[in-house]
Amino acid sequence: MKINKRAIENQEKTIVIDTKKKGWRLINWQELWQYRDLFLFLVWRDIKTRYAQSILGVGWAVIQPVFSMIVFTIVFGNIAKVSSEGMPYAIFSYTALVPWTFFSTSLTSASGSLISSKNLITKVYFPRLVIPIAPVLGKMIDFGISFLILLGLMVWFGVKPTIWSLMIPVFILLMMLTSAGVGMWLTALSIQYRDIRYGSNFFVQLLMYASPVIYPASSIPEKYQFIYSLNPMVGVIEGFRAALLGTRAMPWQYLGIGSLMAVFFFVTGALYFRSMERYFADVA
């Protein structure tokens, strides 16, 4: 029955193609819903093919943050003696690496996504928004796995989570919103300017130093705190630490400003993406 209903839904529609702008609707949710199967298959393809014909398979989702953690612990924890607010440096940095790895890998794959999907864009219609959003969802699997490792590490180091851990889903949402927003910007820019694709890897690397991954946010001087808090990942990472490690109080200021910025990135990203999507097939 479900099938027929959907078929009829589609039939009754008159599609109009013209040169008019689409008004202020940011995202056509109804259409995205219609194409949900495609969306899910693309996410699934992304996950399935990423680790095809590799020995470690999903193990790679673990290796990246775990090895970064080991290197950071040696270099920043033991040699440079960066403050870890009383926590073992390993878990201090790994707690930050879990959301950070999600953010950085979903950005790099979003910025390459339109180009690697060029073949699809020039041959079939589907809501183009699927392309930058699919990798963000796809990376959630990796995030889930590395989060489990984090829980394991907490047991190992005997760290007890605080009651604020109930806020974790909110942080995850904030993290996804930021990734999707910046991802839409990068995707739309990258199809016309290939520099974005080359530059974004590098940019994301630099951005890591503007986020409290290897050091605590408290070591940023007071006068730079406001600029620093414009980066939504600061709130996310410090939120993770506050909730899981209890190294600090809840970073409400970072979270407040960060959420506003995340919404700003998402809205402007969606607007820019929408204004550019009609040219994708022509410039791809």
């Binding site: 199967d37 864009i121 016309q192 097939a281 022509d282």
Partner: protein, 431 residues
């Protein structure tokens, strides 16, 4: 379903593209340096101009109009052939109708579910199995998962690769991949189907099967827009034709008339000639194939001939060295890959013949009223029998044979079989 007068209504559709700039060359070191510094700014302007058009210089040199003021109204159930030479705007039209690219001006209304088939196997991923690709490709083409679930067995049966359905597609032969992909596409059930030249895939038996499927689809009351260079296929599938020329609609009407109009436009004639320079010609130590031409009795070079019009295939080659028993062979093949007949240049030469170095033109005369109303492929090769292959045989040209006579409708067009010779009949009443 809501009744509407038109399945597709196209009004004043235009599409403009910007084509690439020519790069200036720099030959002094200072120029190279200054160019290098100013290049990012120039690049930025150029890349930006791909999406920004300055309205005041709409006719600038680097702009081409792929479509210009095209208006067509198509009723539900019509099967329309879109004809035109390469670059006439056929594919752009289909791309706009399938919402891949957007028009510069004008408007299109589509009533009904649209599926477009601009390529076979879009989104196929080599690492995924056949089964997984059926689902992926199906959803990409606009089917829902439930729909694919229902048709899955049919799709796999039709493709004939059921034995390997759980094997990753990268281990498939290219023919198998294409068959599976076409099979998914053939099971789409849209009200409006847009197809761009996809029938020329797969092996002979499969092509036959897909052409049959296409005919079935076009008789099911769907609205079909079909782009093809194969006039035979257009004629057998479509009732109405539209002819595009440099982005403009020049003829719209009954398919035979539109095909005739297209064939009589003289631009197409050059396509019957294939020529190479010495560097990229098919060649061997002893022999270079310089060109192949299809020439009518009136000396015109073209690719389409009337069924009652004979023509000549001229093959220009050069021998660099003396070759013993040189044999030039030519085969007529159907688009399904079956040989209709073969013929040899040496048929008149006795054994032990040596051809001296020099330039030669071999002409092969094809008499009228032999070939059927079909597209044939011309396969040519050179060898020295029992000794060596000089240029291995392959298909070089396509020739369309058509019957546009005003004859009685059952006595014209394509008959059964690969050839349609005129033979004499006599009927005597027995007393």
């Amino acid at each position: 379903m809501r009744m509407s007068d038109y399945a597709i209504k196209i009004e004043n559709l235009s599409k403009r593209y910007r084509i690439g700039y020519e790069q200036q060359t720099r030959d002094t070191f200072a120029e190279v340096i200054s160019d290098w510094i100013s290049r990012p700014i120039k690049n930025y302007r150029r890349l930006r101009s791909l999406t920004q058009f300055d309205e005041t210089n709409g006719e600038a040199e680097d702009i081409i109009w792929a479509l210009k003021n095209v208006s067509v109204a198509i009723k539900p159930g019509e099967v329309i052939g879109v004809i035109g030479k390469n670059g006439a705007g056929k594919s752009t039209l289909l791309k706009i109708l399938s919402r891949i690219t957007y028009p510069t001006s004008g408007k299109v209304e589509l009533n009904g579910r649209v599926s477009s088939l601009l390529e076979v196997g879009t989104g196929f991923h080599p690492e995924l199995t056949g089964r997984e690709n059926v689902y992926l490709n199906g959803t990409i083409l606009g089917m829902t998962k439930d729909e694919i679930d229902r048709k899955y067995d049919e799709i796999v049966d039709f493709s004939g690769v059921s034995k390997f359905i759980d094997t990753p597609v990268k281990f498939y032969s290219s023919g198998m991949g294409v068959r599976l992909a076409f099979s998914v596409a053939a099971h789409l059930e849209p009200e409006i189907l847009l197809i761009d030249e996809v029938l020329s895939v797969g092996d002979a038996a499969f092509q036959k099967k897909s052409l049959g499927k296409m005919e079935e689809v076009s008789q099911e009351g769907r609205t079909v827009l079909f782009v093809s260079h194969n006039m035979g296929a257009i004629r057998s599938l479509c009732s109405r034709g539209i002819l595009l020329e440099e982005g403009r609609l020049v003829k719209d009407g009954e398919v035979d008339k539109v095909i005739n109009c297209y064939l009589s436009s003289k631009d197409i004639s050059t396509a019957g000639r294939l020529g190479w320079s010495e560097a990229d010609a098919p060649q061997d130590k002893e022999l270079i194939l310089f060109g192949i031409e299809l020439v009518s009795n009136t000396g015109e070079v073209k690719t389409t001939f009337q069924i009652d019009e004979g023509f000549e295939i001229r093959i220009h080659y050069q021998l660099r060295e003396e070759v013993r028993n040189l044999r030039l062979y030519l085969r007529f093949k159907t688009t399904m890959g079956e040989t209709v007949f073969a013929t040899y240049e040496d048929a008149q030469i006795q054994q032990g013949f040596n051809r001296k170095p020099g330039h030669y033109t071999a002409s092969c005369k094809i008499p009228p009223n032999i070939l059927n109303n079909l597209t044939y492929r011309i396969y040519i090769g050179f060898d020295s029998p029992g000794h060596k292959v000089l240029i291995p045989g392959r298909e070089y040209l396509e020739v369309d044979i058509i019957d546009t006579s005003d004859g009685y409708r059952y006595a014209k067009g394509a008959f059964d079989g690969p050839i349609r010779p005129v033979v004499s009949w006599q009927v005597d009443e027995r007393k």
